[in-house]
């Protein structure tokens, strides 16, 4: 799965999970940029990613992420 396809799918997931009208993807997007992105919706986000891409994220993987770009890297790495 190439990076742009992952980004496209991830953007859809974020729109659903954070209940957004629209989302302009950037690699450095993080919780600080999205009002609805709090600790609980972050868990919903992680579970939605697990479900969509078919793998499980460990707690240390989740805690290592600083922005969405790193999430895309992680997904790419896990799917490789």
């Amino acid at each position: 799965m190439d990076r742009s396809a992952i980004i496209e799918q991830l953007t859809e997931i974020m729109i659903d999970v954070f209940d957004l009208d629209d989302l302009e993807y950037r690699d450095d997007l993080s919780a600080a940029d999205v009002e609805e992105w709090d600790s609980l919706s972050n868990i919903r986000f992680m579970v939605a990613v697990e479900k969509a891409f078919g793998f499980r994220l460990s707690n240390s993987e989740i805690e290592s992420l600083d922005n969405v770009g790193e999430m895309v890297d992680l997904i790419q790495q896990k799917l490789a």
Binding site: D16, V17, L40, I43, R44, V47, A48, K51, N59
Partner: protein, 635 residues
Amino acid sequence: MTDVLTLPWLLPAPADFRARVRALKSAETVKAADVTTLAAYGLDLSQLGSLGKIVDARREELRAEGRLRPVLLGVAATHTVDLVAEALPATALRHGLLVDTVQTDYGQLAQAVLDPSSSLAAAKPDFVLLALDAASLGLARPQFEAAAAHEAVQSALDYVASLRDGVRTNIGAGVVLHTLATPAESLFGSYDARVPGSVRWLIARFNQRLTEEVVGDSDLLLDVAALAETVGLARWHDPLRWHDAKIPCALDAVPLYADHVARLLASARGLARKCLVLDLDNTLWGGIIGDDGVDGIKLGQGSAKGEAHLAVQSLALDLRRRGVILAVCSKNEEAAALIPFREHDEMVLKEDHISVFVANWTDKATNLKAIAQALNIGTDALVFLDDNPAERERVRQELPEVAVPEVGDEPSDYVRLLSLAGYFEAVAFNDEDRKRADMYQANAQRASALQKVGNLDEYLASLDMECTIAPFDDLGRARIAQLINKSNQFNLTTRRYTEADVAAIQSDPNKFTMQVRLVDRFGDNGMISVVIFDRGLDSWHCDTWLMSCRVLGRRVEEAVLDHVAAAAKAAGATRLTGEYIPTPKNVLVEKHFEKLGFVQTCERDGGGTTWALELADYAAPALPMDIRTTIAFAA
């Protein structure tokens, strides 16, 4: 069958779900029908959250429309329940409720419940869910001394009981207690079951004693243990979510958990479904009776298909035995449709188990309306089981309030799906329930007696009615509360009272209460009317007057008036007053007081009318029934 966590009895969410929610966000007005249509799909946590936000934003508008029953649920938990709280407002729409939640602060459960000035108490919730986990109850670690094991269970039960009592006394709300999910892990393996004090033993013992000794008649029980087992314990528990955020179950399981909470609250409000309407061909038996004949249909032992249909019949019969009414709605010639009931040896369902039998070529939506009418219940009390997706779709379009389980084409799945859907969630099981199906049966016979007699007075006289009127008592309380909470049509004021309220009214000397029963030659109708008057010096005011529509047109209301009029006169009052408060469902009684000879005194603020009857002008009518008053005019 697909995954139970996706709520497989519901249609999956459509591709345009998000767009439809967004359209509601900017819509000028939002009606109950707009949001309930979307809630009827099997939604995931995010979808429930977005729809829930619409409900939150439009709560006042939806409340004013009056179609959904508002419920404020307090959640007092020892773990994170925010996700459940987010999922509930949308989930509850499926069950006719407009739910809002109020939570206790983290770690403040006992204070919130035990302090009458807590913010939880101030919010005046209708119900409080006490969501405690095994860890907080001291049951998450083994106790290998037998005495300590028993002590651990005892003190957990004592703690829960004290919180329950606290909610009752300090908050005055109904209490929802829940069992504990068994952990997915063992310590000894199978031997856990034999070690007093293993965690599995502790939790099993706690659950058993909780349901037997702690949960009272006026409490609600959410059986989380059974729910978790249905899902599968390894799937239910997600240790990462527990360690990370004290979320008590896997996120995927939250929509199902929320649905179980909502259906329980709905049932407590009298909104559980009442009648299962069954299709025949390929639902109650395999094949088409009109084509295959009675020897050709698949039913009974010996084939997987035949046994699957037999299981559907057995479930229907068991539901009937617990008070669910059965009806048939089939596209068939009636004569052909009846043949299996009369001639097939393996039919579990017999003709007289079916309260209304409709087999014709009219469209099913029209027939379902006729069935509801014949039974004097709303179409929103119906569940329609049909193997044919086209029929299901048509009924969903025409009558969205009818529950139509998405059963697919494998009859072996039908029993499980019908059970998972929880349409007939109960909060009590009493003699009235046991007899209900027979009562509705007797009603059908009464209707045919009416046709034969033709004249109403003669008909009523022929019923040999005996009407018993008594003040509220302990024995009748559960049924009184049940009627108060579920009667919608013949209900003048639609005031809802909990069992605790009813107990308070019973012992209040300023109230005059009546519970009314009716027996006739076809059977015992049970308690069919509940009336509460406020005694004043000069005039008595009607607070509550409701009656089961089953006995409409029997002149029971005249017997009730006669009784209260006599009591008021004897107490020195000169006038009875009453009011009619309109709701979307009670137009039936708009002219109730007028018919009884009351004179309208004015219009109520916010709709409705007020009425008065001068007792000097009242003359007791001759009624076609024996009237028995058990305790005359008791205070």
